[in-house]
């Protein structure tokens, strides 16, 4: 789109000036800290001492053989593998229920979206009370149905599921909105034509809705993956990484190394490894989910 007219050139120059602030802030607040963090990860640096010694890649080598680091990655992936499909399905189901403008759909959309609006800190504190084995709301409700109590906060095998439940409850509403936008973008006459041709609702869903939602689906899955691997808010407030390290996710591990054990270099190296992993997964997902489906 080379433009040799003077108006064109002016427009291009204006375009550059317009995006210069955004690029500058990106460089200042994203790239600069990232490069700084990478440099710190090459040093033996204590959190509270600006003077440090350069040790090359030793932090990375130590991390790759540290079982606690690998465990934290496993926990993050455990969370992601469970949450991505389940949360997406829940969000899509909610969207299918409310995307058409009926008389109560506004009320339902709002109430499904409400958890997204609550601050994560508030939600985690509330769920900590709800999950309490003896006094929490959850176990009271379960006991009225005769289901034995679940100890989400003190049973190492159940704790991660407690975090997943909180994460999904909190985020599903957001992706529901995304799906609503996607669903509303499918023209209604496609469904009419399908009905005329005798298609059932199930067939309409699988042959029309899903293929045309591919781009939306790609967005939802990629963003959910990135958020899921980086899950940390509920861990800080509800479980503190416990019980017995069963909810120590990768980000919580980084916090523990850098701020509790004061090993800033080690924590920064872990953060960088996590960054590389998430980036690779996102790139792979982008390739796989690329969609050429147009109607």
């Amino acid at each position: 789109m080379k433009s040799y007219s003077s108006i064109g050139r002016q427009e291009e120059r204006a375009a550059v000036y317009f995006i210069l602030p955004a690029v500058t802030s990106l460089a200042l607040f994203t790239f600069y800290p990232m490069i700084n963090a990478f440099i710190i990860s090459l040093k033996e640096q204590s959190l509270i001492n600006p003077v440090s010694e350069f040790i090359g890649f030793r932090n990375y080598r130590d991390l790759l053989v540290d079982p606690k680091f690998w465990n934290s990655l496993v926990h993050s992936f455990h969370f992601a593998i469970f949450v991505i499909p389940v949360q997406t399905i829940i969000a899509l189901s909610m969207a299918l229920l409310v995307y058409r403008k009926r008389w109560l759909s506004g009320l339902f959309r709002t109430s499904y979206f409400l958890p997204v609006v609550i601050a994560m800190g508030v939600a985690s504190t509330l769920f900590k009370l709800v999950y309490n084995k003896d006094y929490g709301l959850l176990n009271s409700i379960l006991s009225t149905f005769g289901i034995p109590p679940v100890a989400f906060l003190s049973d190492p095998s159940a704790a991660m599921y407690g975090i997943m439940l909180l994460g999904m409850w909190k985020a599903a509403g957001f992706f529901m909105i995304v799906f609503i936008a996607g669903l509303n973008g499918i023209p209604a006459d496609l469904y009419e034509a399908a009905e005329v041709d005798g298609a059932t609702r199930m067939q309409q869903f699988f042959r029309i809705t899903l293929p045309l939602l591919r781009r939306t689906m790609a967005f939802v899955i990629i963003i959910t993956t990135m958020d899921a691997i980086k899950i940390s808010g509920p861990v800080f407030i509800m479980t503190g990484g416990g019980p017995g390290d069963s909810t120590t996710t990768a980000v919580y591990f980084i916090y523990k190394m850098a701020f509790l054990q004061m090993q800033l270099g080690y924590g920064a190296a872990a953060a960088f490894l996590l960054f590389v992993i998430v980036m690779i997964i996102s790139i792979v997902q982008l390739r796989v989910l690329k969609s050429d489906v147009e109607y």
């Binding site: 080379k2 600069y32 490069i35 959190l47 509270i48 003190s154 416990g242 019980p243 701020f259």
Partner: protein
């Protein structure tokens, strides 16, 4: 003529330049350890404590403001506000800004500020972290100030030892600490458990405690026998009350010189303590892995550990739960040895502080001979100064006498080493792994020992 290619080049160049600035300046931005901190100017603050004009009106008569960060605990914050008022009245040129920070966030916030190079002038330092902060050059040595007007000789020797690293004193003590067994008298009487003696020479053994806990334990009614060590969290408070189990069994965390962990933390005596702790949760099930808020005051747990600071806390939050009627204090339990933890919060001055003299003035106001008396009267924390201990007869009477005697006869400090942050998270995690996850003892011990050893190597 700005073609697409040139636009891209321009933006790429902008990114690269900013990134290179990052790379070049990463070393320089943090050396704010100004030279003003290093000389404690013994000449100036030396002659008299009331030389307020020497530090007061610096440069153009504006009052000097010193900032003090500490963890939030209402009785202590209220006392400090009173002391600040009297200090500011006596020193018109100095203003003190007290910033209370929630306990859970305090260490993180403080460390972040130290790392960024803009710490507060005065900071609350928890005893065992002193070595780490001093080793990293974050604290101002207070030797000259202490010699001049700090009444060093009046500070109890074990406390002074906990403030000393590498031959220098790095903080001034607010108080000492000890813990005892707090028990619910009504629950004991209801279940036919004999009340423990209040004499520190007749402290209950682990077996007696277990017996009482089993009698009180009533999980169907959600009443549990004991909370042996403040639940299953991993903060410093948690380590403070968990380490005694190891010491009471006869074990140690580190070698006496603080450089070795193998052979100490994993000794058979240490294992005894760890096994007992784990059994309370997993074998006898008298300790609950999850407790509701304020379980002791609401009668849901029969035995807990706590210290003298909690006496006023419980009285103000739960006036219906009365000391002497509903609950009582007994000496901390024992096993092969009778050991209690010690060491508490102190006030340190940042090396980077721009007003070290004024900061010392305030620190001495609060922790000096007179300030310590006010501190004791208001907070009932165990005194760190001998003169305070002598000035109050109630310290020889129940309940404070239990803590005072424990502190002087059976106190054992936490390990002194710059590696302490790693030691404390590893030991805490060890206990939590055993209690909450019922992890195999050998496995958990090996992990803890290896983590601590790796960190200790850096300081050998």
């Amino acid at each position: 003529m700005l073609t697409k290619k040139r636009m891209a080049m321009l933006l790429l160049a902008a990114c690269m330049i900013v990134s290179m600035l990052a790379a070049c300046s990463s070393g320089k931005s943090n050396n704010s350890s100004s030279s003003s901190g290093s000389e404690p100017s013994a000449s100036k603050s030396g002659e008299s404590p009331k030389a307020s004009d020497s530090g007061g009106k610096k440069d153009d008569g504006k009052p000097v403001e010193i900032v003090y960060w500490r963890h939030d605990f209402k009785p202590e914050i209220d006392t400090l506000n009173k002391l600040i008022k009297t200090f500011e009245d006596a020193n018109p040129g100095i203003k003190v800004k007290l910033v209370p920070i929630p306990y859970g966030d305090y260490e993180t916030k403080l460390r972040t500020a130290l790392g960024a190079g803009n710490p507060p002038d005065i900071m609350g330092i928890d005893g065992p972290n002193l070595a780490a902060y001093a080793h990293q050059d974050a604290l101002l040595p207070l030797d000259a100030y202490m010699d001049a007007d700090g009444d060093k000789g009046d500070i109890a020797p074990p406390v002074l030892q906990s403030l000393t690293y590498d031959g220098h004193i790095y903080a001034a003590p607010l108080n000492d600490a000890s813990i005892g067994m707090f028990y619910n008298k009504k629950l004991f009487e209801k279940n036919g458990v004999p009340l423990p003696s209040k004499d520190p020479a007749q402290a209950w053994t682990w077996d007696q405690v277990l017996d009482a806990a089993m009698k009180i334990n009533d999980p169907k009614n959600k009443i549990y026998g004991i909370d042996p060590a403040w639940g299953l969290g991993i903060d410093e408070g948690s380590t403070f009350v968990k380490m005694p189990f190891i010491w009471q069994g006869g074990g140690e965390i580190l070698s006496p010189d603080g450089t070795q962990v193998k052979g100490y933390l994993d000794s058979p005596e240490s294992r005894k303590g760890l096994e007992f702790f784990s059994s309370l949760y997993n074998v006898h099930k008298v300790a609950a892995k999850e407790l509701p808020p304020e379980p002791f005051e609401t009668g849901k747990v029969g035995i807990i550990v706590n210290g003298p600071w909690a006496i006023s806390g419980i009285a103000s939050a739960h006036p219906e739960f009365k000391l002497g009627e509903d609950w009582d204090i007994a000496p901390l339990w024992r096993d092969a040895k009778q050991v209690t933890p010690n060491g508490s919060w102190n006030m340190g001055i940042a090396k980077a502080s721009k007003h070290p003299d004024e900061a010392w003035k305030f620190v001495n106001w609060v922790t000096g001979v007179e300030g310590a008396k006010v501190w004791y009267e208001e907070t009932k924390n165990l005194p760190a100064r001998l003169s305070t201990a002598d000035a109050y007869p109630e310290l020889t009477q129940y309940p404070m006498n239990i803590f005072v005697e424990q502190s002087s006869k059976f106190a054992h400090p936490r390990p002194v080493t710059p590696a302490y942050p790693v030691v404390t998270t590893s030991v805490s995690k060890l206990f939590v792994d055993l209690g909450a996850a019922n992890r195999n003892l050998d496995e958990a011990l090996t992990e803890a020992v290896n983590t601590i050893d790796k960190e200790l190597q850096k300081y050998r």
